[in-house]
């Protein structure tokens, strides 16, 4: 399972008046969950659809394990994709939806039962799709993606419509699949979920790449200065003690809280001890993914 790398290179899609994806390049490694992030309208779905040969790029290329999707000999055995929750005929039962795919892909019929079991939909197998809740539809989509036991999984907003229990289930499933050496690419705008789920992130806005890399690196790369939150009943005393430290900037935050930048927490603690100032809290603040994301995409979201 070493050749499941996704490589997007100079990918561009121009609609009549809109440049939806603009010279986008990134790569996605096997064995990890990669989060694909961007504000609404950033071009995430268009990018995934170009990767899967559903939309023709204006220029550039996207390959999976070195081949374009259209050139894969057995696409379902290589790539499983979940694109929108509602892609089944309303009047067809869940099990029949999967059997239709099995027939077209030359997979044995029993795979349909197996993947339904995997996603916990066996009790609803013979129910028509129109009777499925949004969460059940997502599960059916994941089941369809797993039919060919693919080494690459591509999911567009899979957490939409799942309840907290369902989200936790999906997180476990995707992380387990990545640990088996598969490539997992998940687009989402749910940042908190992505922080728990993804090992790597690719962040785009306006169809352009903003940042890509391991989650931790991307988050820290945004941390130019350390922030430390300090709470003390003697704010004035602490301000006086810290003003002697080179590079320290002190911003009062009210409620006996100061935000200190330019000095690490141990140095602040030491200065407070030397000055005899009582501390109630000393917290180094790391920007989270949400902060990074909002900073990177500020002013780039919305209707284009």
């Amino acid at each position: 399972m070493s050749d499941g790398e996704i490589v997007v290179s100079g990918l561009t899609k121009r609609y009549k008046t809109l440049l939806a994806v603009d010279g986008l390049s990134f790569s996605v490694r096997p064995g990890r969950v990669t989060g694909f992030l961007g504000p609404n309208g950033a071009g995430k779905t268009t990018t995934l659809r170009m990767l899967l040969n559903l939309v023709t790029p204006t220029s550039g290329s996207a390959t999976i394990g070195g081949s374009r999707y259209a050139d894969l000999r057995d696409p379902l055995r290589t790539v499983g994709a979940v694109l929108e929750a509602s892609s089944a005929h309303k009047g067809r039962t869940g099990i029949n939806h999967l059997r239709v795919i099995c027939a077209a892909a030359g997979l044995p019929k029993k795979r349909a039962d197996e993947v339904l079991e995997l996603v916990g939909l066996t009790p609803a197998a013979k129910r028509k799709f129109k009777g499925y809740s949004l969460g059940m539809r997502q599960r059916l989509g994941i089941a369809a993606a797993m039919l060919g036991d693919p080494r690459v999984l591509i999911l567009d907003e899979p957490a939409n419509g799942l309840d907290p229990e369902g989200i936790r289930w999906m997180r476990g499933l995707l992380q387990g699949l990545a640990r088996e050496g598969r490539t997992v690419l998940v687009s989402s705008h749910l940042l908190s979920e992505m922080e728990l789920l993804a090992d790597d992130v690719v962040i785009i806005a306006n169809g352009k790449l903003l940042r890509q890399g391991p989650m931790g690196e991307v988050v820290t790369s945004m941390t130019t200065t350390a922030h430390v939150r300090v709470r003390t009943p003697q704010a004035d005393g602490l301000t006086a003690a810290l003003s002697g430290l080179p590079g320290a900037t002190i911003t009062p935050r009210g409620d006996n809280t100061l935000l200190v930048t330019g000095v690490e927490a141990p140095a602040i603690g030491k200065a407070a001890l030397a000055a005899g100032v009582e501390l109630h809290e000393l917290t180094p603040e790391r920007p989270d993914l949400e902060g990074v994301f909002l900073e990177l995409t500020a002013g780039k979201a919305g209707i284009r």
Partner: protein
């Protein structure tokens, strides 16, 4: 081949086929009733009917009366089969299953060919069904008017088999139109209107032109597809009408054009 099986499974696992089957059955009963009446008129023409009209006399030949009954239900049957062809394609867009279908099979030409084959098979099944019904009913009606069953006449069997060809071709035309008009509502309404409207408008306009400018204009029946399929089932060639094979050729040409244009469009279309 597995794509055709998948497409047939798609048809089989939703209610469309039996809903259309019931509609086809009702329309077949209606058509057969009308044909019963016309049989009565043809066998015992009312007083004062001129007996020197070559076409009328040809239609009255026992083989052709029988052909009309054994291919009863063609007009609406073909429309139903065409609509099934339209729906086989437009379902994919109406229910957003095109994504899944083209993910499973990125070779889009193969998908359309499978749909053509599956719709053709369904079309032939509808032909088989109505033909079996006609085999039950036609001998009874013929018997009422003391016309022999005609089952030994080759003209009758030609009509029955050409009728099957018409069912096959109209299913293919339906698929072609489905690709051209991916919206299900627009696709079904447009094709039905063209089919029914084309039949009546074509017949009326050509009749007028033939009356005014001469019988040559009747040959243009050929280029109006619903009239062309009627030619296939007349039994023997009728005087004043184009030969039957030409009707088949024109229909096949329409089916090819619809199928090829549809395939080319599908290959290029963005699925989103």
């Amino acid at each position: 081949m597995r794509l055709v099986r998948s497409e047939l499974l798609k048809v089989r696992t939703v209610s469309t086929w039996w809903v259309f089957g019931i509609i086809a059955l009702v329309l077949w009963a209606l058509a057969t009733g009308v044909n019963w009446i016309s049989t009565a008129v043809l066998v015992n023409p009312p007083e004062g009917t001129p007996n020197d009209d070559a076409q009328f006399n040809a239609v009255r030949e026992a083989a052709n009366v029988a052909a009309n009954l054994y291919t009863s239900g063609q007009f609406f049957g073909l429309m139903i089969v065409m609509l099934i062809g339209v729906i086989v394609v437009t379902n994919e867009f109406a229910h957003q299953t095109a994504t899944t279908t083209f993910l499973t099979t990125p070779r889009r030409t193969a998908v359309i060919l499978a749909k053509l084959a599956a719709a053709g098979i369904v079309g032939l099944l509808f032909w088989l069904g109505t033909t079996l019904l006609n085999f039950l009913v036609a001998p009874l009606i013929l018997g009422l008017y003391d016309v022999p069953s005609q089952l030994g006449t080759s003209a009758l069997w030609q009509a029955i088999l050409l009728n099957g060809l018409a069912y096959l071709i109209w299913a293919v035309i339906g698929v072609g139109f489905g690709v051209l008009i991916p919206s299900q509502l627009a696709g079904t309404i447009t094709t039905s209107a063209l089919y029914i409207g084309g039949f009546f408008a074509g017949a009326i306009v050509l009749n007028l032109l033939a009356d005014k400018f001469g019988d040559w204009w009747n040959n243009l029946q050929l280029i109006v597809p619903p009239l062309a399929s009627g030619l296939l089932v007349t039994g023997t060639d009728l005087p004043g009408s184009p030969p039957r094979w030409s009707g088949a050729a024109v229909l096949i040409a329409y089916a090819l054009v619809a199928g090829v244009i549809g395939t080319l469009i599908t290959r290029k279309r963005d699925i989103s």
